[in-house]
């Protein structure tokens, strides 16, 4: 089976000689939710952002397979990079909605990669896209909020819009960078459930950075433990015992 994403020897250093990612090798299959856990500052966010190139990797390869071809995302530039970003949905920790636009405009901004500026300026979105946006809003339970401004929503509602915006891209790969860190526990469960279910329904892989181990165990098909810029655990939720967690996070008082 070919992988949706294959990362080889990925290195990222913001300052020369102090790499934050020290040669990551990972293969993500074509479906399932993969959770990346690890202590703060260990490069989880950097790893996710290297995939859609919001961060430029220092070395390594990121092979992305979709539509029958395989592309090394690490080497892309300009138009080719934007074309690949169109096929990678991303959900952010602080939702990153455009506050002063309506929920509908935020959703449809997921189609901007396919539009010229003149059409975007006049809000000339494809009719099929608009219909799909309403469908997605119903899916995430915000059907009645289409014309509300994003800054009028609660945190949980905003993150649902964030997920709908990413799904609007009809992406073969969905990334989520700490999608629940700004939410209360109940909403966190709902958001993780939504990410898992939407990934399953569309048959696409979902990669989620998360620092809540319990949430990861409950929703992930596979857990990757990152520590010190390296993969130190790669397996199922069942095998993630205290000894493994100590290895990932260090210390042990918090496990008692």
């Amino acid at each position: 089976m070919t992988h949706a994403l294959e990362i080889k020897g990925l290195v990222k250093q913001y300052q020369p000689g102090r790499p934050i990612l020290k040669g990551i090798d990972l293969a993500i299959p074509g479906a399932g939710l993969t959770a990346i856990i690890g202590p703060s500052g260990t490069g989880k966010s950097t790893l996710i952002r290297c995939i859609n190139r919001l961060v430029d990797p220092s070395a390594g390869e990121i092979w992305f397979g979709s539509g029958g071809e395989r592309i090394d995302l690490a080497r892309l530039r300009g138009r080719a990079l934007r074309a690949s970003r169109c096929r990678i949905g991303m959900v952010f920790q602080e939702y990153n909605l455009v506050e002063r636009l309506t929920v509908m405009e935020n959703l449809l901004s997921g189609r901007l990669g396919y539009m010229g500026a003149w059409a975007a300026w006049r809000r000339k979105f494809d009719q099929a896209d608009i219909a799909y946006a309403f469908e997605l809003l119903d899916t995430v339970g915000l059907g009645a909020h289409a014309s509300q401004r994003a800054d009028a929503l609660s945190g949980g509602q905003r993150q649902r819009v964030g997920i709908a915006r990413a799904l609007m891209q009809r992406p073969p790969l969905l990334l989520a960078d700490e999608p629940t860190s700004s939410l209360d526990p109940k909403t966190s469960f709902e958001i993780m459930g939504l990410l898992r279910d939407q990934g399953r329904a569309r048959g696409i892989p979902v990669i989620v950075n998360i620092h809540d181990v319990e949430l990861a165990k409950r929703y992930a098909d596979r857990i990757i433990g990152l520590s010190g810029g390296q993969v130190v655990y790669d397996g199922g939720a069942a095998d993630l015992d205290d000894a493994r967690l100590r290895q990932i996070y260090g210390g042990q008082d918090w496990l008692a």
Partner: protein, 262 residues
């Protein structure tokens, strides 16, 4: 250190601040002595002023045609200059934003804006009168330059203060740079832009009454010739009309801002 001494040290001004204050005061006294002010002159001046004001009343309403023509031209200058200035300032302000543009581009744009801002509109108007001749064209061009100098800078600064998170999210969808600007940047700055633009219209209204004094069109020319004829009653009529227009302009600007929820 004892407790009271510590308490008094909490808010003590540094010696540098005190020296600076004394220097400023000393310079002000020196400058006043150089310019030959005296109390007698001031008192005599008050008398002249009272006589001048007396000659203004009652306001002269007989040259209404001259006044109407001048005011109409002034309004046209202000509106045209504001429109052109705002339209040109948008791209220049965007180019000057250091968070979106590469260094050399934003440096060049900000240098252009600084040059536009460095000269007073009346001096720019004199330059344009020399270049394109007497008349409202010179006035419009002068006010376009000063508009760019003012709101171009404010636009750049507003763009530099936006939230990068929203921009990042639009970039992540694969949007082109222009689409990122349209959906990630503009919605964040639009209300402030409307505020700057109405402020600029207001200030262009005031400045357009002045460029006429140097022959660049508008009611300023009418005002200058009334002064030169010692026709102070007509001067008062012109001044009252200008004040009325500025007040109406400000009310209009406020209602525009309300529409855009600034």
């Amino acid at each position: 250190m004892s407790a009271p001494a510590r308490a008094s040290s909490a808010f003590r001004t540094g010696p540098a601040t005190r020296v600076a204050l004394w220097l400023i005061l000393a310079y002000a006294l020196y400058a006043a002595s150089q310019l030959g002010f005296s109390w007698t002159r001031f008192v005599e001046g008050l008398g002249h002023g009272a006589r001048f004001l007396g000659r203004m009343f009652p306001p002269d309403l007989s040259h209404r045609d001259d006044l109407a023509d001048g005011i109409a031209e002034t309004l046209q200058i202000a509106v045209l200059a504001s429109l052109a200035g705002i339209v040109l300032s948008l791209p220049i302000g965007l180019l000057g934003a250091r968070n979106l543009m590469p260094g050399p581009v934003s440096w060049a744009a900000r240098a252009l804006v600084s040059v536009c801002r460095s000269l007073h509109p009346v001096i720019v108007a004199i330059l344009f009168v020399k270049a394109v001749g007497f008349g409202p064209l010179a006035g419009v061009l002068a006010l376009v330059v000063s508009s760019i100098g003012f709101i171009g800078k404010l636009f750049s600064e507003a763009i530099e203060e936006i939230s990068h998170k929203q921009v990042e999210a639009i970039r992540a969808t694969g949007a082109s740079f222009m689409n990122v600007v349209l959906f990630g940047v503009l919605p964040q700055v639009l209300p402030r832009f409307v505020g700057f633009a109405t402020y600029q219209l207001d200030s262009n209204l005031r400045n357009s009454t002045m460029v006429g004094i140097v022959g660049a069109g508008g009611v300023g020319g009418v005002l200058l010739s009334a002064f030169q004829r010692f026709d102070y009653a007509f001067v008062l009529t012109i001044l009252l009309t200008i004040i009325a227009i500025i007040v109406v302009g400000e009310l209009a600007a406020n209602s525009v801002k309300k529409v855009f929820h600034v």
